[in-house]
């Protein structure tokens, strides 16, 4: 494995973000073209091309609208999905002090702070720019960790923000969300089409197309997860160790988090990948989706942190 420093990580994340934004509409247009091509009544390339050019503006406007809405409202969406609320300074001065001191020592802007009312231990960072960056902590993690450990966890989340991990994650979540929506629409229209028109002539083709499209969606979702550096959790751990100079504190915190990371409110897998440790119950049996799990094993992270100390 080659050594990746923090500057390299930031550059790589910025590059990946732009790459995602550029390739996504192209992939989507490719899918639209494929759909038109396979569902056309007559295979007349000219007709298909002209319908395609007619459709292009609608597709682009639709996705950019979706993207803009998600870009501006992702914060409230994520807050709804995780059930987090703003944490006021008066309610918890200790958390504010820890975050402010860490931010000041790095010259960072102080992010917004949210709390998830849940006794379990977990935390995540989100946001896309200085004014939307936020750190969310569960009630359990604030109360069950001591100052040094909580500082380590917060430093880990701040490192995600500093490395631009969060922005890349949000963009990928938005895109995967759009694909998931399209796949769902394809299946829905397929079902309704089958009911209303009976077994028509074009149905076989539409079924095939819908299956192909959803397969492509799934493939793209997987590729996105791989494209986003999987080493980001290790990078953030290392960043936190460097910020606090107390790697053992973060290792202790991870040990405690490992006992009980389940946040019941979180049901969506795409939101789950934001957290410091997977907040969803893990499937014990071998499953396909675990192959593409979003978090590295916590034991390995603790081992690496212990090497620092």
């Amino acid at each position: 494995m080659t050594y990746v420093g923090i500057q390299t990580q930031i550059r790589r994340n910025n590059f990946n973000s732009i790459l995602l934004i550029v390739t996504f509409p192209l992939v989507l247009l490719g899918m639209v073209y494929a759909f038109l091509f396979f569902t056309a009544q007559q295979k007349d390339p000219q007709l298909i091309n002209s319908t395609f050019t007619n459709v292009i503006p609608f597709v682009l406007i639709g996705t950019s609208l979706w993207f803009l809405i998600a870009w501006f409202f992702h914060n409230s969406m994520i807050r709804m999905a995780t059930g987090s609320k703003p944490l006021e300074r008066i309610d918890n001065k200790r958390v504010y002090n820890l975050i402010e001191n860490l931010c000041i020592s790095r010259g960072m802007k102080i992010p917004q702070i949210y709390i998830i009312e849940d006794d379990s231990l977990n935390a995540f960072a989100s946001g896309i720019n200085d004014s939307t960056y936020s750190v969310s902590l569960s009630r359990g993690i604030i109360e069950k960790l001591d100052d040094d450990e909580l500082e380590g966890v917060i430093a880990h989340e701040l490192s995600h923000i500093r490395n631009r991990d969060v922005r890349l994650m949000i963009i990928s979540i938005i895109f995967v969300g759009i694909f998931a929506f399209i796949a769902e629409m394809a299946f829905r229209s397929l079902r309704f089409g089958a009911f209303s028109r009976g077994r028509g002539k074009g149905n076989g083709a539409i079924i095939l197309v819908a299956i192909v499209i959803s397969a492509v969606c799934y493939l793209i979702a997987i590729l996105l997860r791989f494209g986003i550096s999987r080493s980001r959790e290790y990078m953030a751990d290392a960043g936190a160790a460097e910020m606090t100079r107390k790697p053992y504190a973060l290792a202790n915190a991870l040990r405690k988090i490992d006992q009980d990371p389940l946040i019941e409110a979180v049901q969506r897998r795409d939101i789950a990948q934001l957290f410091i440790e997977n907040p969803q119950p893990e499937e014990k049996k071998f499953s396909f989706s675990n192959l593409f799990s979003t978090h590295p094993p916590i034991q390995k992270r603790i081992e690496l942190l212990d090497q620092f100390a």
């Binding site: 402010e100 001191n101 020592s105 790095r106 010259g107």
Partner: protein, 185 residues
């Protein structure tokens, strides 16, 4: 031939401009870092008079120390340049440190709610000050390294980039670590 020479000259000029701009960026980062420190210093200035008032009522034998703190605060508030501020604020820190030691002798004062709250606020500010200083010193080190390494040092010398001071506890720390001198005469 003449074109090649011209291109080489243009490339070199742009390269030099790039170096100059990066030095300016480093200098600005350092100045912005000091703004973070300034915020905390101002809060400390606001807090000191309250602290002095509270202590005055209990610690009657510390008039000299309190006077020293008040003077150090006045001097620190009058400072304008970064270097001056670093010098005067270090003195204020030292004076406040002295107060922290002396109040140990006054149990009544240490039980005073108002004093406890002020002390907590002060230690909050000093923690933040330490964090801000860490960032400022990191920025200063980066700037100093930037102007001293070849070839940037040639540009730095010609355009008045000079080595800047760090905000460390230099003198204050040695004062604290040395045992107090006691003389019998």
């Amino acid at each position: 031939m003449i074109w090649i020479i011209l291109i080489v000259i243009v490339v070199i000029v742009f390269w030099l401009i790039g170096i100059y701009n990066s030095l300016v960026r480093l200098r600005n980062t350092r100045q912005n870092a000091f703004a973070d420190i300034d915020v905390q210093l101002k809060q400390r200035h606001d807090l000191v008079p309250q602290l002095v008032e509270t202590v005055k009522g209990y610690a009657t034998h510390e008039r000299e120390l309190l006077l020293k703190i008040t003077q150090a605060r006045t001097a620190a508030m009058a400072a304008t340049t970064i270097d001056e501020k670093i010098r005067t604020e270090t003195q204020l820190s030292a004076a406040l440190q002295g107060l922290k030691v002396s109040v140990e002798a006054y149990p009544d004062l240490k039980a005073n709610q108002n004093f406890l709250q002020l002390q907590e606020e002060l230690s909050d500010i000093e923690n933040k000050l330490a964090a801000a200083r860490r960032y400022f010193n990191a920025a200063t080190t980066e700037y100093n390294t930037g102007i001293e390494t070849f070839p940037a040092n040639m540009i730095a010398n010609n355009f008045g980039f000079r080595r800047e001071t760090m905000f460390d506890l230099g003198q204050e720390r040695t004062n604290l670590e040395e045992p107090p001198k006691i003389s019998f005469n």
